[in-house]
Structure formats: C-alpha cells, structure tokens
Amino acid sequence: MSFLNKVYQAVFRRTSTFALAVVTGAFFFERGFDQGAEALFRYVNRGKLYEDVKHQFGGAGEEEEE
C-alpha cells in the first residue's frame, strides 16, 4: 500500500517523471524483450544451431568484422 503510494507520489503524479519513467523503462524492456526472444529461439532450436555443431569442424579460429 505505502509502496504504491510512494510510487504514485514520486513518479506517476507528474507527467514529466511519468514520461521519464516510460522512456527508461522502455530501454530495459527492449533489452529484456530481445534477450527473452533470443533465449526462446535458442531453446526451441537447441541442437540445430551452429554453436551446437561447431566442435565437429575442429578449432576454426575466425574473427568477424563489418
């Protein structure tokens, strides 16, 4: 109760702090969402990814650059 009260008084009450909270929250939301989606993809495709079969081709030291 008092926690929600404090949050409301500190963040939600003013539009400026509310917008700031949304923007910073979106930053972390993006990270979490992307990493979660990636983890789900890796879980669904486990055993089929290149990382999983890489060892079959020996120590191929390769560096990437764009």
């Binding site: 109760m1 929600l4 009260n5 949050v7 079959q56 030291g61």
Partner: protein, 268 residues
C-alpha cells in the same frame, strides 16, 4: 379510491396520512380498500417496457374516509450491486475512499505506463525497420569498395569482411604457408592455378569466402590442407583457396583488389 396502472415502475405504500379536517364526531374505523400493486414482472424488451410504462393521465380520487395521500416510495427500489466491479478501496460505501486513492491510481498508471513502454519499443522497431530499408540500393552496393587496414590482421589469421553482401576473406599468410602453397604440384590440382596467379602479394590472400560447390561459407584454418573447410559438404581448400578435396569444382574466387599504398588494401 386510487387507481394505479399496473406498472412495476410505480410502487406505492399503503400508508395513510390523516388529513387536516377535524373529525366531526367520534372517529370510526372503517375498512378501506387495500391498494393492490401488481407483482413485478421481468421486463426484457422495449416492447414489454412500452406496454408497462404508464401513459395518459393518472387519476387519483380522494374521499373523506380513504387515504388522502399516496406517497410513492423509492426506498425499496433495488440499487444494482456493483461490488464485483469495484476495487477493494471503494467497496465500503460508508468509508472514505480518499486515503486509498493513490493506490488505485498507481495501479492504473502502472498499466498505462507499461503499455506505453511496449508501444515505444514497437514504434522504435518499426521506425528502425523503415529507416534501414532506406539504405543503399543494390546498384550502389554493386559498385562498393572496401578499404582494409592490413596492420589490423595478425600473421596466420583470417579475417572476414562483408563486401557487396558477400563474405570477403583476407588472410595474412605465414612464410610457411606461402612456401607450402608455392611448392604445390599444379598437375595434381582439380582446378590448376599456381599460387602466383592467385595472389598479388604472397603475404596476403584475398578471396570471396563462398564455397564453389553450393555457396556455403567455409571455415578458416580448418580442413586437411590447413586452409579452408566447407562444413556443408566437406570441401577442403588449401591456404591459397584452391580446391583440394571434396565436391567443389573450382577454386574460391579472387576479387579485383589493389594495394594503393603500404598497409592498405582496397577491394573492388
């Protein structure tokens, strides 16, 4: 006497109120006719409602011995119970809801803020996709050149760059690799090319990292000949990019390139 339409919208209580006239004689209790209110019927359609709604003029006649006044009471009209829709802080109608207002507002704003957050992320993704679709078109990319600082590539290492949408391998060959490749007997090769035909500077091997079999990207520093190995169907290339073993028919392709100055490579 009172005549009431048979309507569930009108309720009457049979409460008599003494009129102001003083009794002439001794009060005599008389039996009055009881007001009969029709039992409430369930109204579900507008047609049923229109049949039940009182229309025209209602008449009330008053006599000395009949009730002088009929009060239409609304206290027994049931207020619908909305408690299933109310939040905890507003369920008690006798308690003030002000002290818990911040809690309810914080809850609501949390959902609004969360939705806005997800919306901002979605909008950012859409804009990003749109802007990236405005990048250089295929005809521009086809003319692209790439400039590579050779000092960044240590000896014995193979680096992969993206050039015209394809992987470009730049290999800094060791002296051992150079001598090995130059000593290869060309007559034994499937696609006969000397090492000197394939490199401008023996130290640097520049080639398109696309297997000539079915177009996979070979792995560097792997395979039986210490050059490249295609994991798709097992083609082995040597450190000059020549096919030595496996299904691929040709050596890996060498693009146009030049060394305009010391330590700089321009491909394209």
């Amino acid at each position: 006497m009172i005549s009431l339409p048979k309507s569930p919208l009108l309720y009457a209580v049979t409460q008599t109120v003494a009129n102001l006239a003083k009794p002439v004689g001794q009060a005599v209790v008389t039996q009055t006719e009881k007001i009969v209110v029709a039992p409430q019927r369930l109204v579900q359609t507008s047609y049923a409602m229109s049949k039940l709604t009182p229309t025209g003029a209602d008449r009330v006649s008053v006599s000395l011995c009949s009730p002088a006044q009929v009060r239409f009471a609304h206290t027994d009209v049931q207020v619908p119970d909305f408690s299933a829709y109310r939040r905890d802080g507003t369920k008690d109608s006798r308690a003030s809801s002000a002290p818990t207002a911040a809690k309810r507002q914080a809850f609501t704003y949390m959902f609004v803020g969360g939705g806005t957050m997800a919306g901002a992320y979605a909008a950012k993704t859409v804009v990003g996709e749109f802007v990236s679709s405005l990048s250089a078109s295929a005809d521009v990319l086809a003319m692209a050149k790439i400039e590579i600082k050779l000092a960044d590539i240590p000896e014995g290492k193979n680096m992969t760059f993206k050039w015209r949408g394809k992987p470009l391998f730049v290999r800094h060959r060791t002296a051992e690799e150079i001598s090995t490749e130059q000593a290869v007997d060309i007559s034994q090769l499937r696609h006969a090319e000397t090492d000197a035909e394939r490199v401008k500077d023996p130290e640097w091997l520049v080639l398109l990292g696309i297997c000539t079999h079915l177009g996979c990207v070979p792995l560097a520093n792997a395979g039986d000949y210490g050059g490249y190995y295609c994991p798709c169907h097992g083609s082995h290339y040597d450190a000059s990019g020549r096919i030595r073993k496996g299904p691929a028919p040709l050596n890996m392709e060498i693009p146009e390139y030049e060394f305009p100055e010391e330590g700089l490579l321009i491909v394209g």
